[in-house]
């Protein structure tokens, strides 16, 4: 019988403790971010989709069109095409496409890149109802950044 009353008492005590905690939390400030009104800045290492690095001296990319990023990509989402042009050593990059729908942001391409021509962008505000919106032309993107 004593156990019966004791269990009722300890049970009630635990319930009151719970109420105290939630009531105390009620008076504390919210911690959530009101997303469209407040926006986070991503950390420098954030992995957005890849982009071409702009060389501050030449004002253009550093890609040598070797295609190692394309080769190393697990999901085959990169298409690189370079052309031989007269008077220019090596190949000239004419196309750098990224199919972001299949990218898994692993960083293999960036690691494979010898000249360090690609990096992760800090873009995260990406939403669309169309698949094609995630097919990026990174060369054009670099042009826009100028």
């Amino acid at each position: 019988m004593a156990g019966y009353f004791k269990s009722i008492l300890t049970g009630t005590k635990s319930l009151v403790t719970g109420l105290k905690i939630t009531q105390a939390e009620f008076f504390r400030k919210p911690i959530t971010l009101q997303y469209p009104h407040e926006v986070l800045v991503m950390t420098p290492r954030y992995r957005g989709h890849i982009q071409l690095v702009k060389n501050p001296e030449t004002g253009t990319h550093q890609c040598i069109s070797c295609g190692l990023c394309q080769k190393g990509c697990p999901s085959g989402c990169i298409t690189v095409r370079g052309e031989k042009r007269e008077g220019v050593k090596g190949k000239v990059l004419v196309q750098y496409d990224l199919d972001f729908t299949t990218c898994s942001l692993c960083g293999q391409c960036i690691e494979n890149c010898k000249p360090g021509a690609i990096e992760f962008s800090l873009e995260y505000n990406l939403a669309s109802t169309r698949k094609e919106d995630f097919h990026y032309d990174l060369l054009a993107r670099l042009e826009e950044q100028k």
Binding site: L19, T22, Q23, E25, F26, F27, P30, I31, T32
Partner: protein, 348 residues
């Protein structure tokens, strides 16, 4: 035309409006309160601090299509939501909210139609609420809904017993089923209220808590929301309801919360009486403000409880009713009967 009839119609309209407003804004309070308990902001986009959110929700619900799944029992399916809402309004009609307490109409009683057996009628109509869950669950032709209906019925039967036993104790000590009389008998300060044993209610605070818990269980509120346990039964008896069918169940739930809190206030917390003796001017005066204050405090506790505890299981719920509450209520009934005889001998 009889002026009383005009009053009555006005009061009825007022009560329905009160029920609807309460249902709508208790949802807001619930959402906002839950958000703050969980360190969120809650509704904030529609209107200032999301105050128009309930209206937007209501408009959304009303504009939705009513879906009738194949093979349902259509008449019962449509009847069930009404059974959820109508008894709630009927009960609210009989509840006295007390005198205005200030201004030119200080003594004007805010009550639609009080009856001398008000308490009996309230319990009679509160039982109809079970029918709503049973019919809704049964007619939906959904296994989850049927399980939910079975749960709700066994739960409501189990919890009506201690609730009524305690109400009988109060009727014994006050000698009336008339709600206003019950309130008036508690006059003279908060120590005279029924939640303390001075009026003859032997285990005063315990009975208060039991009654409060029972009213939670009767309204299927967490932690006793076995009927709609969303992690087990998806949405329980209203799984198949859409649009205002669901809306009525939803409003009925909140109206029932209001009734539960109002009844607890009347029976245990002195209704519209001030916690201080009436001899103190202004603060001591009985007023509807006191009533609402007490009632909403209880409702807030209901909300807080919902967002604090996990759900009980059916067995522990029934154990609580049959093994703890009913024995307590019975002992209390007998003890109070004795106390009523003893107190006059002691000159109290």
């Amino acid at each position: 035309m009889d002026i009383n009839l005009v009053y009555m119609v006005l009061f009825l309209a007022g009560i329905i409006g009160f029920a609807a407003l309460n249902a709508a804004y208790l949802v807001w309070v619930e959402r906002k309160g839950a958000a703050r308990i969980q360190r969120r902001t809650g509704p904030s986009e529609v209107g200032f601090a999301g105050l128009l959110q309930p209206l937007a929700d209501g408009a959304k619900l009303m504009s939705k299509q009513i879906l009738f799944p194949d093979g349902i029992d259509k008449p019962l399916f449509m009847l069930a939501p009404m059974f959820a809402m109508i008894p709630a309004v009927m009960i609210l009609v009989t509840i006295p909210f007390g005198p205005v307490g200030f201004g030119p109409f200080a003594d004007f009683m805010l009550v639609a139609r009080e009856m001398n057996i008000g308490l009996l009628m309230i319990f009679a109509f509160a039982s109809v609420n079970v029918m709503a869950l049973l019919l809704g669950g049964w007619s939906s032709k959904n296994k989850y809904a049927v399980i939910s209906a079975a749960r709700a019925v066994s739960q409501d039967i189990a919890y009506e017993i201690p609730m009524i036993l305690i109400a009988i104790t109060i009727v014994m000590t006050t000698g009336s089923m008339h709600l206003s009389t019950i309130v008036e008998s508690q006059a003279g300060g908060f120590w005279n209220w029924n939640w303390l044993p001075l009026q003859g209610n032997l285990f005063g605070p315990v009975t208060f808590i039991i009654f409060f818990i029972c009213s939670l269980a009767e309204t299927n509120r967490a932690p006793f929301d076995l009927g709609e346990a969303e992690s087990e039964l998806i949405a329980g008896f209203h799984t198949e309801y859409s649009s205002m069918g669901f809306g009525l169940f939803f409003m009925g739930e909140y109206a029932n919360i209001v009734i539960g809190a109002a009844l607890t206030t009347i029976l245990f917390l002195g209704g519209w009486l001030s916690p201080l003796p009436a001899s103190i001017p202004f603060i001591g005066a009985p007023s509807v403000v006191w009533f609402l204050l007490k009632m909403y405090l209880l409702i807030w506790t209901v909300v807080l409880i919902r967002w604090t505890y996990p759900r009980v299981t059916l067995w522990s719920l029934l154990n609580l009713a049959w093994k703890i509450m009913i024995p307590f209520a019975l002992v209390n009934l007998l003890g109070s009967a004795a106390l009523i005889k003893i107190l006059p001998m002691l000159g109290l």
